[in-house]
Symmetry: C2
Subunit: 133 residues, 2 copies
């Protein structure tokens, strides 16, 4: 099975991971930002490699890909517990919000749709502390 996990990650993919791990939980980068960081560390690296690194890490479950509704680009962060996101409509900042829909609520909604619910995403939109003054 997932022998990929066991195998050592290619050094470029590792670099991508280190960029996110170095930033820590709760920090969100777009693909472009990650590429910029990677380029600084290893100028010869190409965009495709960073792109593929992100895809691999996502598939391995080491990082989370977050698609904010209404934003044209996804952001990435270290894998963590499920949580909600707050997105500032002015400066675009994305912040983690330690919250998730109660399992009971999800179950109730799932029953209502008649289908099976895999995940529940909660996104808040508004103005962050600095932009709301």
């Amino acid at each position: 099975m997932n022998a990929t996990v066991a195998k050592r990650l290619p050094k470029n993919y590792k670099l991508v991971y280190e960029i996110l791990r170095g930033a820590g939980h709760g920090v969100h980068f777009t693909m472009g930002e990650i590429y910029a960081h990677a380029k600084r560390k290893r100028p010869a690296i190409g965009f495709s490699t960073v792109y593929r690194g992100i895809a691999r890490l996502r598939d391995l479950g080491w990082i989370d890909e977050i698609e904010l509704p209404g934003s044209d680009s996804a952001v990435y962060e270290l894998k963590g517990k499920p949580h909600a996101h707050f997105c500032c409509g002015r400066c675009g900042e994305v912040a983690d919000v330690h919250y998730q829909l109660p399992a009971r609520t999800i179950a109730r909604l799932a029953a209502r749709t008649g289908g099976r619910v895999g995940e529940a995403m909660v996104t808040l939109r508004g103005l962050c502390r600095r932009c709301s003054v």
Copy 2:
């Protein structure tokens, strides 16, 4: 200022609105689908006009634009009460779910972020009834 609201809507924009109103609440169309419908009713209409009609109706608050996380195209529906959406990961169907985060919860989360929260989006992902068998 917004005299636009008072003015009668251009007939093409009205056509776009009628397409959504005719479908009723809870029906979701992509821009391409709306364009196809419009084209059938008025073959000479251009894509840009439909596009601009949707933008206008959205700005007027007559329709809602729903950007599903992870989907590459937005869907539109008649303006209605805030609600959650369920999105089938297999067939792509989007269904309204009559639910919204309790105001108290939103207030609590807003306090936690220190900013001001305008809206809270809840999106469920999973398999719809037909796809989950």
